[in-house]
């Protein structure tokens, strides 16, 4: 095959893939990626071929097994001052919140450039702040944030082309309040709401942002501890819910 020929230049392979990617077999793409990744950073055109291959594997073939390699490539290129923009976009396009832990691993790197980039990519996570230092604490905080919010995350598609501080995942705090898992793609509850839940949400959505955050966090916490206690709490009036959440959140 044309792409298999080691005499075919990266430039020609790239043009071919860009024009014929629908016809190229997954296993062949994967093989090409694995053979090429060892030469990451050697030339612009070779890296572009890697980027396109990676993007196709992730977006067209939903291959998430390459995400650890992608993250390592991003951080390697960043240290070398090379182009990372497209690879970062491809990584987030995998729509895999748990893969954020791969970036989180670099919070504890000895290389300050790694830590800076990790903080920049994870800037949307409340506990992450480059100025705080303490990489291992922030790594742990990321883990707990993901654990708490995983079922309520919606993928937004925001990228560095759009804004300087992309927020690729947002927490659907209304669904978190109801402890209803949401679709990663739409942010809507996977199971339809009951009339009671819709009514509850009506009251919830009239609250200010701080109260919403308080209630959603408390609701999730109590639901994880004891579903019966949660059930009793959520049946109370919204005012009572708030005062209970405020009182118990102080401890």
């Amino acid at each position: 095959m044309y792409l298999d020929n080691t005499n075919t230049s990266s430039s020609s392979k790239l043009k071919y893939i860009q024009s014929n990617h629908k016809e190229i077999d997954y296993f062949f793409l994967k093989d090409m990626f694995e053979k090429s990744m060892t030469q990451d950073g050697l030339s612009n055109i070779h890296d572009e071929l890697l980027d396109v291959t990676a993007t196709l594997l992730i977006k067209t073939h939903n291959d998430k097994t390459i995400l650890p390699t992608i993250v390592d490539m991003i951080f390697f290129r960043n240290r070398e001052g090379l182009f990372t923009h497209d690879l970062i976009w491809a990584f987030f396009q995998a729509k895999d919140p748990y893969s954020l832990m791969l970036i989180g691993n670099y919070l504890e790197s000895d290389d300050v450039n790694d830590v800076k980039l990790a903080c920049k990519l994870l800037d949307f996570v409340p506990s992450i702040d480059f100025n705080k230092g303490e990489g291992s604490k922030q790594h742990k905080a990321l883990f707990y944030w993901l654990k708490e919010n995983y079922h309520f995350l919606q993928f937004t598609g925001e990228s560095f082309q759009r804004v300087s501080n992309p927020i690729p995942y947002i927490v659907a705090i209304d669904s978190k309040y109801l402890c209803k898992e949401v679709s990663l793609y739409t942010g809507e509850p996977i199971l339809p709401l009951t009339k009671k839940q819709t009514n509850l949400l009506g009251h919830f959505n009239n609250l200010d942002e701080n109260k919403k955050l308080l209630l959603s966090k408390f609701s999730h916490r109590i639901h994880c501890k004891n579903v019966n206690s949660w059930s009793s709490w959520i049946k109370q009036s919204i005012t009572k819910q708030i005062s209970t959440a405020k009182a118990k959140s102080k401890h």
């Binding site: 860009q18 396109v52 759009r162």
Partner: protein, 254 residues
Amino acid sequence: MVIISSNVFKVDTFINEYKTNDIERDIITKMDLSKERYEYNSLDELKFELALRKNIVIAAKKLNEGDMSFKTFRKSICNLHYWDRTDEGGFILKKGITPSVAIEDISINSSKYGTECATAMIIIYYQALLNIFSDKLFNEVFPKIALMNWHYIDDKLEDVGYLERHSNYLPGDRRYFSNPDVNPVKPEWQGENVIYLDNGIYFGHGIGVGNSDKIISELNEFRTEDAKTSAYILDSAARPDFKSLFDIYNKFHS
């Protein structure tokens, strides 16, 4: 609503300072009719924002008329007499080069430049500010310039990297069209950064000038074959920190 020094400002007389077709008239009218509060410490501060918005629009139109090409970061080009091109595809002002001269060169020798839509926005902001600030002030305020989308933005311009929802949108606003079903081999068309020119017309580098239907139609050409979602405009805009830029300008001139 326009508020100056905590008082509601009646724009009726002020608006006559501008000619019928001046874009400032349109902007101030939109501000006046808006639910949003446009607050200023002085009339001069308001005039400054109007002037800067006007110059953002002028700079956008000028860039459209020039020969700067659309290029991905990997293939970006610049006039190496004034700029160093980084391995990331951005442009850094060369040492010893006057910033205002380098920014002007992007218009004068536009064919020597090629970049993508976000970097084009930053160029527009710098060119707009160059039209309002004197060269001396511009060079003092921006001694180092890096051009690469929202990375390395000067602190004084960092607000342009953030999109926020507003009650209405004004000429000079940066807006964004998203293309969620973009063809994976064409990631540069995942969206389009645009400057709102007025009357529903936008400028986006790589597409040109057009209404939202045109921008969307062009972006939709770069989707996957089985695309389900059309490109669309986000209900948000980015705006420079007009107040702090005015403070810099005012301090220099007083």
